[in-house]
Symmetry: C2
Subunit: 316 residues, 2 copies
């Protein structure tokens, strides 16, 4: 096995560019064009630290790269935009295997392929720990507004596209059983949801075209993320308990790790499910999960009551 220290900076960069090729990569900076007239571009960044945000004991390097891409692309889609490009900053200890870096780049590429986004640039430096910084960019076509958090209105329906609570369940299963291989096969979907969230690309732009109001993604936890919308919009949100009730799979997993599955649903986060509000019918791929009100006290309630499980991801 070759380490990045043995390979040297130029060989490492060459390996990344081979694993995730783009004609737009390689000069002082990447040059990016819009594909539609009057377009605006979107940018979002996330940082992931090994041992805090991911573990190479649980994830392959490809999964780490893919998850890093998903969480940024979800932020782009949550504005109603289409992901187009990604930049990666990487701090790596010298004894990191070159295959780890190559795998991370492959993961970015594989995920990027799902939405036609390329790795267009980056920086690699030595460091004491493995830190991945991803900046994703996207295109917001035409003159319409982006889907900001402050656009929820009383009377709107709260909508969601994708699983809620699956990533949190997967994390607890991994913690309980110690590794993906040790988790019972029947919980595979939950583990996979944690290692690489299954994001359906294109629903952000679909939501924008359909006139959706606010949109965000379930990154920090359902209650936390909907609270962001409620506070930014100066409204309150009531979630329909039945619409988010834990699936049988979640309940079985909760039995296995001896916890309350509602904790994953309400506070799990990292599903990157799109969450929004609309005055019309839910667009394709979205389902109703609640309603927006002028003022019912708490920013977010579940069936009119205080969510009994607070919390969500905080950095420190």
């Amino acid at each position: 096995m070759t380490t990045v220290g043995e390979a040297g900076e130029h060989a490492v960069i060459a390996a990344i560019r081979e694993a995730a090729p783009s004609a737009r990569n390689g000069d002082d900076a990447a040059v990016l064009s819009m594909t539609t007239p009057n377009a605006r571009y979107i940018a979002s960044t996330d940082m992931l630290v090994e041992g805090r945000h991911f573990s190479l004991d649980w994830s392959t390097p490809e999964q780490v790269g893919a998850k890093a891409a998903v969480q940024n692309f979800a932020d782009i889609e949550a504005m109603g935009a289409r992901p187009t490009a990604i930049l990666m900053g990487l701090s790596v200890p010298e004894d990191t295997e070159l295959d780890v870096v190559r795998g991370i780049a492959r993961g970015l590429r594989e995920q990027g392929r799902k939405c036609a986004a390329e790795l267009v640039g980056g920086d690699i430096v030595g460091g004491d720990s493995l830190v991945i910084s991803i900046t994703a960019m996207g295109e917001l076509g035409g003159p319409g507004r982006p889907l900001v958090r402050s656009a929820a209105r009383a009377g709107d329906t709260v909508i969601a596209a994708g699983r809620i609570g699956y990533s949190g369940a997967g994390l607890d299963l991994l913690t309980r059983y110690g590794s993906p291989a040790a988790v019972p096969e029947k919980f595979r979907e939950l583990v996979d949801a944690h290692l690489v969230p299954d994001f359906a690309y294109g629903r952000g732009p679909v939501a924008r075209a359909a006139g959706v109001g606010a949109l965000t993604d379930n990154s920090d936890g359902l209650v936390v993320d909907l609270t962001d919308i409620a506070v930014a919009s100066n409204v309150t949100i009531d979630i329909d308990e039945d619409a988010i009730a834990p699936s049988e799979l979640l309940m079985a997993a909760a039995d296995a790790v001896d916890t309350d599955p509602w904790r994953w649903v309400l506070a799990g986060g990292e599903d990157h499910t799109l969450l929004g509000t609309t005055s019309g019918e839910p667009p394709t791929g979205f389902r109703p999960i609640g309603t927006v009100h002028r003022d019912r006290g708490l920013p977010v309630s579940v069936a009119g009551r205080e969510p009994w499980l607070r919390g969500g991801w905080v950095s420190f």
Copy 2:
């Protein structure tokens, strides 16, 4: 003194947004518009690790932020574009003082003010070491081509805008004397050049408007960066020895730290001076420093001879 761990994530983010405010910051992602028709946008990223790329013993947090901004804005200008926005990913140990984070954000803002670029987004996470990841974006107005490294042609004049070797000299002075305060006052300009390179914004777009061919910036060292142009363009470059000869200040500093000042000039890097090639007169702010040839053997020579001091910055 409050640490970031004591303040908590929300207070840290609030402090950053207060230190570097932007109306475009705060949703899932930033939305950025072009100011000119048919524009393209430019993106570049750099990662800085404390103890490797900067030291809070030598630099104030403001200087760290400013330098991080400069080195990314220089990459944008080196494409002939105008910096417009910046994103910052920050990994911080929990015991980092909140004032350090606030200072870094202030430094970004101050440098951004020089070129009308704002901090439009970011991410802050806990980590074992202080790691700063900056992504800068810029605008390339109109339909003309960007200034790529591959556009040097035989017969062109090699041009430069700014000091060469000053940052390297400043680094050696800091290493020799141990702190900025201990370095003799007469070398202040060199130390300043290392802590926050003095970048003259606008010269990248000026060079593009003037029809300059290739453009890059002196980040890794004069010979290394001109070699990138020579190799990408399939030409050779001969540098005029007199045009880059060490100034009296550099010679005095070399005496003080007992080294050869040519080492700083040829291999110092981090000056972020724009380096390019043109078939016409050097544009405003640029001076001639050499000539481009079809094939004279070495990619880069000085007065026809092999540069006697190789090297430059490598990450590992």
